[in-house]
Symmetry: C2
Subunit: 181 residues, 2 copies
Amino acid sequence: MEAREHTSKVAVALVHHPVLNRAGKSTTTAITSIDIHDFARTCAFYDVAPVYLVHPAAGMRALVRDMTDYYLNGPGGDRNPDRREVLKAVRCVATLDEAQADDDYRLWYTSASAGGERLAEASDLLKTKGKHLIVFGTGWGLDVASMPEPNGWLSPIEGVGMVRHLSVRAALAVYLDRLTR
Amino acid sequence: MEAREHTSKVAVALVHHPVLNRAGKSTTTAITSIDIHDFARTCAFYDVAPVYLVHPAAGMRALVRDMTDYYLNGPGGDRNPDRREVLKAVRCVATLDEAQADDDYRLWYTSASAGGERLAEASDLLKTKGKHLIVFGTGWGLDVASMPEPNGWLSPIEGVGMVRHLSVRAALAVYLDRLTR
C-alpha cells in the first residue's frame, strides 16, 4: 500500500510477535481474518488510523495483503464497499519499530493486568499533544520485556464479572469508545 | 443445558432470525463460532447472563451445542478452563419468545440507526427495576417489523469516523462497558 497522510491523532497496532503464550514464554501468533476485519471496522468507526498488523513472517504478511487486496482492488470490495473503505487503513509491518518509523508516535501499551506508574486513561490521549499509538497483544498479551519502553500504559479495563480478559477485539472497541468519553 | 438461577440484571440475545439482509428483506443468518466466543466472554466479563443465541433451525442449534459441549464437558475445557466457564451462560433458543419465557425481561433492541421515542442509554438500565434483555441483530440488523414490541431502544453508538456500523461483537462490548459508566 502506498504511503498516505494520517490525519488521525490515534493509531493502533496489533502485535503477533513478541507476545506471550499460555506458559508465559515468548511466542508468535497467527494473524486471524476476524481480527483484521474487526480492527479495521472499529478503528474506522472511531476515526483511528492506521491499523498496524505486526508480524515478523513475510509469508503471513503476504497472506494478509492477498486477503485485503480482494476487497481493496477485487470483487470483494465491489460487493462490500464499506469493507473496501475500512481496510485501506491496514498496514502490515514486520516490527513495532517499523510502525514507529511511520510517524512520531507516543507509545501506549495495553494489558489486562497493568499496574503501577505511568497509567493513563484512554480519554487522556486526545487531550495530549502529538500522535498516539495504542498497542494490543494477541495470545496471552505483549511480551514487554522484548519490546521498546512505552510512553505509558492504558489503565486495564475493569470488569465486574468472573473473567479477567476480554477478547482483543472487544478490548479495542472499549478503549476506542472511551477515547471521547 | 439444565436450568440455572440467573442473578444478573442484564441478559443478552443475539438474533439470527428474523434479521435483514443487505437488500432490506427478512432473512436468517448462520451462527458463527467467533460470535459465540466473543459474546460469551464479553458478557462474563461484565457479569451479564444468560447469552441467548436465537436461531430457528434445530440443526444449527445442535451444531452450537456440539461445539460448546467440547468446552463444557470435553477436552477443550480442560485445556481452556476460562472458556468452559464463560460458555456456561450460552443458551440456544428457537425464538426470542422462548428467551422471554425464561424470565420477566424488559426488552431493549439495538440498532445502528434507531431514532425517535423510547430511546434509553445503556447506563439507565441498571438504575431501572427488573431484568433487562438487550437484543442484537446479525446480518443487516433486526427485522423489527416481525418481532415483538420492545420496551424501548438503546441509543445508537455514535462514531466519529466514516463508517456507520460496528461489528456486532464490538457493539456488544461498547454497550456493556457503558452499563456502569
